[in-house]
Symmetry: C2
Subunit: 277 residues, 2 copies
């Protein structure tokens, strides 16, 4: 079973890509909608939440964990790997960094993301270790998440705000742009239009799904953990959320582009009652 | 001591009004920045959080509690009053309803707020009980909170989004508009401009501060609980948050319009350790 988590429902863009490439695997998703968003919160708080999210997915027998959240990917990975040493973790930062490294020709790479992701400096570190000549230009784009969650994908205000966020990056002459948030693939068309044809976009949801696929192909011993009985009969992923509203249901449909049942779990009581046992 | 809480920092607009009117009282504020926003979450989750926020303020010896959050005011008050029967609670919905009831002449009142506040239907119930002839026209305005929190107060996109939210209300011919969220007083000028001169705005932060002031004047027995030693020496309120980032510090300054030290508290561990004792 593949466990996927995110601060909210944005990580469902990763589930969508996984379903496309690995339809034979059962996917369990947890969206921490009761505490969403993580992208405005401190690293310490994000790490605490990420540990709880992981524990929940492991309790449902997840064998590998996909962190479908840039904020967690850029702040909590060393702690998660230390706390759960036997679990293969995949995150969204490294595969999008690698893709951008391959794509850029003029060595000028742009990044948009939440404030926490951008301020973590993780992409700077990865690029400077891989090729010190690469310049990374990053701009926090905090309004894109609420605009996407409102479904304001094609509104003129959204286009204008996207343009505003991209201007300083375009002025630097970037040829590659990392979409540093799993919500952003929904705005890909608008972002591509405002960025212009010459800038190549890196979609983290696509990149991490490709990585998980090749990992499962190369590691048949891990893959064999996925017994036939565990496979979902109709290919439906199981989607858990820590809070459920009609608006979250609407958003899940928007992200997954299919009708899906959300199941609510009270994370604190659930984990508390398991630890009591 | 007056305890004030909100899902985040928007409630500091209430603190600002209280400081203006009641400078002799010590104010303790709690902003649940680790779980902000509440306005997109379910009533059940909001109620659970509101109980914890109240417990925290009572543990710091608050004698009255001001709920500076429309989402909590419109969903959690019966539960809070039942759970803490000896504590006088003030909330932001009733005083703004009363003010609008006095102001409206054509009996057409508008409301903007978060999705949870608008969908709670609390204003509809209050108006229909007070005067069934009053028509309330409500429009959720969920993008205003992130725009304000980004400090985009005067940006053209913000003006355009405000205009968009007000169009359906203006078309109904409202003469009074309730700002149903403690963030919105920061956008008062833009909202007034887009609403037009004929529409009177109701500012909930002002209204609840006036109510607390008259309560303390009329109830000297409660007021005498505030001993001189408890008064803040320099009139500074104590501001606690469940998560602290440079951006939250910037926002606190924006809302209070003064420099202020934020103190971080881990609510779950704090309440957990007190309950263990």
């Amino acid at each position: 079973m593949i466990g996927v988590f995110d601060s909210g429902l944005g990580g469902l863009t990763v589930v969508k890509e996984l379903l496309k490439r690995l339809p034979q695997y059962k996917i369990v998703y947890f969206g921490d909608t009761a505490r969403t968003p993580y992208g405005t919160k401190s690293a310490e708080t994000v790490i605490r939440y990420a540990i709880e999210d992981t524990k929940f997915l492991l309790s449902l027998s997840a064998k590998i964990i996909v962190v479908a959240c840039h904020t967690v990917s850029s702040t909590a990975m060393p702690t998660l790997r230390e706390r759960f040493p036997n679990i293969p973790f995949f995150e969204v930062v490294t595969p999008s960094f690698r893709k951008a490294l391959n794509l850029t020709k003029n060595k000028k790479v742009g990044l948009i993301g939440t404030r926490t992701t951008v301020e973590s400096g993780i992409y700077e570190r990865l690029f400077s270790e891989a090729d010190p000549e690469i310049k990374l230009y990053a701009n926090p784009a905090p309004l894109l998440v609420p605009l996407i969650e409102e479904g304001w994908i094609k509104k003129p205000e959204t286009r204008s705000i996207v343009k505003k966020y991209l201007i300083p990056l375009k002025m630097r002459g970037i040829d590659t742009l990392i979409l540093g948030c799993t919500h952003y693939p929904l705005l890909k068309k608008v972002i591509q239009e405002k960025a212009g044809k010459r800038i190549k976009l890196v979609d983290p949801s696509e990149e991490v799904a490709l990585l998980v696929k090749s990992y499962l192909e190369e590691n048949p011993d891990v893959a064999c953990h996925f017994e036939r009985s565990e496979k979902s009969p109709n290919g439906e992923p199981e989607i858990y959320v820590s809070d459920l509203t009609p608006n979250f249901e609407r958003m899940a449909k928007l992200f997954l582009q299919r009708d899906i049942k959300l199941r609510k779990v009270d994370l604190e009581s659930y984990l508390g009652s398991r630890e009591d046992k």
